[in-house]
Amino acid sequence: MSTEVGISLTVNGERVSRRVEARRHLIDFLRLDLGLMGSHAGCEHGVCGACTVRVNGLIVRGCLVLAASLDGDTVETIEGASDSGEIRDLQDAFVARNACQCGYCTPGMLLTAAELLRENAEAGSVPSRDAIREHLSGNYCRCTGYHAIVDAVEAVAKARTASSGAGKP
């Protein structure tokens, strides 16, 4: 029975094995053990959403997950999602509309928006502005006032639907 735990998991497609303090949350693991600084902690009590990352394909609050509990799991961060190109259109829209100002909430905001878009794509629907606001309601942004973020997500949702409707996979 130890205060340190050996874990072996996949992070952004790479297999990593580490020994971590049991108390270390996923965000600190990513930042301190793996040097992946794109995931941010804003409150460390699960409210602000800055720490949103993906575990086993679903968004979670990284500060509310113990790294120790992730043995065998898959984690994806903003770096992984950027490198894969999966959210390129969202990122482009954020840049074009200045939906990213200081950038601190942005990684969490993008991964949260990406999940909404994926779910809507699976259902063949385009989320309304209210639905976008509702889904992003757990991600605090102090800079933008949210309007530009909603614009960006809405634009991408429409564009993805349009392009899929045209027969693209």
Binding site: R61, C63, S69
Partner: protein, 292 residues
């Protein structure tokens, strides 16, 4: 806000859980979804010797329909899974209606029904839904299992009827019968916040006709509060305006709300009255086939 140091062990069976717990003389906490526990550790409100990770125990997972027409929901069912499962939508639709009100997507992806009930936050939705639905909680301990009715499960602020060495194995809900219906309404400052006041209503429809509904408030006491007198005054559907008024008046007997940052006790009483009218409005005054 780094947690204090603790040991961590992952259990794969219930027997392992109880053995590990014994080894530290009970100075342990269970980790399921972690959505409440991790915050508590970060605030150093909890400083256990050992965290026992129960999130991989197969006996705590799964959703199935039991032969005695109960829907059995494993304690480790995440909120996301709960809302998406077709059996839940069919047999306990009130739960599916409640889940979107819980926090936010990232929390719902990992938070569990077992965790929510064990944590017993007075402003949480699922405990009130369990009481409204007449659920039974299956608690597992070193000595075996027992069934605790939801109505007696929540005993006070963050307190349940479970012993310290017990954990929730599953929650079982009577399958909704044709004509059974209900709804959940809540008032929050912001989407996903803990409710200033909330109400879960479930009205069964027996062969003899509509039954008196269960009215279970949350956010207005130390746990879910069944407003029995108000429910009696409301009676079975149809719910006329006079019946609603009579029920609202009797809420003062059922509720003894505390003050909190949103307002004083009078405010909670007022909101409780408003919620009653709104829940009835949502359901419609007449009985109808809403469940199945």
């Amino acid at each position: 806000m780094k947690a204090g140091s603790f040991r961590y062990e992952r259990a794969y069976t219930l027997a392992e859980v109880f053995r590990l717990r014994r080894e530290v003389d009970g100075d342990a906490q269970f980790l399921a979804g972690g959505q409440s526990l991790l915050a508590s550790l970060a605030f150093r409100l909890s400083e256990p010797n050992l965290i026992i990770d129960i999130s991989r125990i197969p006996e705590l997972k799964g959703i199935s329909v039991l032969p005695d027409a109960y829907l059995r929901v494993g304690a480790l069912t995440t909120h996301r899974e709960l809302a998406a499962h077709p059996d839940v939508r069919r047999h306990a639709p009130l739960l599916a209606e409640a889940v979107p009100l819980i926090a936010h997507a990232a929390i719902r992806n990992r938070g569990t029904i077992g965790g929510s009930l064990a944590f017993a936050d007075a402003a949480a939705e699922l405990p009130a839904c369990c009481v409204a639905l007449g659920a039974r909680i299956i608690a597992a301990g070193p000595g075996g299992e027992r069934t605790i009715p939801a109505a007696s499960f929540f005993t006070g602020l963050f307190a349940t009827a479970m012993a310290e060495d017990e954990l929730i194995r599953a929650v079982e809900f009577p399958c909704a019968a044709p004509g059974d219906r209900g709804t959940i309404v809540e008032l929050t400052r912001r989407s996903g916040d803990y409710a200033m006041a909330g109400l879960a209503v479930w009205a069964q429809h027996a062969a003899s006709g509509a039954q008196t509904p269960r009215l279970v408030y949350f956010g207005v006491g130390t746990g879910p509060v069944a407003a029995a007198e108000a429910a009696r005054a409301l009676g079975p559907a149809p719910w006329t305006a006079q019946k609603v008024k009579a029920a609202q008046a009797l809420l003062d007997r059922d509720l003894d709300p505390p003050a909190d940052q949103h307002g004083g006790p009078e405010m909670k009483r007022h909101l409780a009255r408003v919620l009653l009218a709104r829940a009835v409005g949502k359901l419609g005054a007449e009985p109808g086939a809403r469940a199945a």
